[in-house]
Amino acid sequence: MEQFLQQLINGLAVGGIYALIALGYTMVYGVLKLINFAHGDLFTYGGYLGLTLLTSLALQGRVGTAAAVALLVLMVMGLVGVMGVVLERAAYRPLRESPRLSAVVSALGASIFLQNALMLLYGARVQVYPEGLLPQVAVSLFGLQVPLLRILVVLASVVMMAALYLFVQKTKIGTAVRAAAIDQGAARLMGIDVNKVVSLVFLIGPALGGVAGLLVGLYYGQVNFTMGWIYGMKAFTAAILGGIGNIPGAMVGGLLLGVIEALGAAYLSIAWKDAIAFCVLILILIVRPTGLLGERVAEKV
């Protein structure tokens, strides 16, 4: 039982990161029906930029830990968000009216480009965050010692998901985003500047991905230039699992995927872990073809 709880917490912590990245996938998908394969690489940039900012600004020790982290989060969000907007302008906007899969190829090209640019800029070796920035405290939870940071990672993703959900559901701009997601043409007729909405989505989604990258860097202490590929894939899986285009779905999918992986590793086989996760995904999709929280809609072509 203790091991089960421990694994559950392990899974939730990993799933929290998946969920944060999945939010970016799902937002972009919701509006453009585009799988932004470069999203995972933007996540990696978050991790690298965070490191560069942290060391070059010498934040450590000058301001308090909380303030330093908050500053870092804001800066990384801003920078990666801008990268997302630029990426959309350069690689996706020209393809908006063409077949959906054309943009996928452009996205893959962008992914290769971004990943290799990072390798050339920073070198291929693993980059390491300075030690001791965050306190390594453990709290007692159901009789288990759980590192505080793990809880914070999960909380951070839940908070951001909630904020995003409220933003999309309750604000005027959010309504515009939803309108554009349902029917771009009609949204335009209603006076919504769809290009602005798309830019906004490409600001928010990558910003969240960037924060996830920063969290990974802060928590695990290392980043490498290929990590976006695996995290991106997992997050995409999570988004699909929850029902792509659906914000709470991304959250549920991310956390669930993390838990499935941890429990699969614990009770079945570590070596088969990813295969187990994919098997569960396929089974779920056979039963619910549009994911757990996805709406049942006929495909628009």
């Binding site: 799988i35 899969l101 290799n116």
Partner: protein, 319 residues
Amino acid sequence: MNVRLALALLAGVALLAVAPLALDAYWLDVLNSVGLYALLALSLNVILGDAGLFNMGHAAFYAVGAYTTAILSTQLHLPVLWTLPLAGLAAALFAAVVARPVIHLRGDYLLIVTIGMGEIVRIALVNDVFGLTGGANGLFGIPRPIVFGYKIRKPAEFFYLIWAFVLLTVFLFDRLEQSRFGRALTYLREDPVAAEGSGINTTRYKLAAFVLGAAWAGMAGTLYAAKMTIISPESFNFWESVQLFLIVILGGAGSIPGVILGAVLVIVLPEAFRGFATARLLVFGLVMMVMMVFRTQGLLPLKRPRFREKDLARAEAAR
């Protein structure tokens, strides 16, 4: 097949026939790679281009074929080329079994399922499933193919073997596209609802496209295994599937010349950019983006049959 296409094909054949005389072993091997990927991409094109099914796990079928050949030729000592139809059959059977429950999933959901399938196959191979696949080491010592008593080993010899198969494939798939089956797939891709309304059994046609594409990928796997003489799970990872996907879309989904051009670009460009050393993939990624932005329909998009007045007249006359 129209006259222009036939002429182009003829010119292509002539060029290919003399290529080994003009090129060194390296460029011939690059062309061999192009040929293999062209075969794989043509097989994926039946699924992705013709039937419009998002399959990003094609490497799984390729792997099943390659491993079938490797196991049969090293354990049972069957001649490599004899295993070609068996590899195709194995991949087809595999596709039929795994695709049946998921074939109805729409676009992106099918995409992730096929990605998952590809990963499951790779992980199974790594973990030495059934004790047959040699785990992460893979299988080695696959014999060279023998054609009419002649052992094929040099790049130039493989060149003829591979490209002969490519030409045969182009011919067959071109015929297929013109056939009733091919037209049904086109209908299905363009308007699944209307297709179903017109009495096309969508599930059966989709499944047939999947199985056919898989079978062909399996046979390409045989050629790959024979050429490399060693195969390991890493040769069939997710990136391989992505590359095949890229080739089809970049060239122009559904268009056979487009897919072949796509294979040329995706294989030759990274080689051509070797001069950029560590930046070669950076340049490759950039070029891919730029190509797609400027040719949004793919480089050589499928020419959709146009409605012409004289066709109408002919139809009227025939009535």
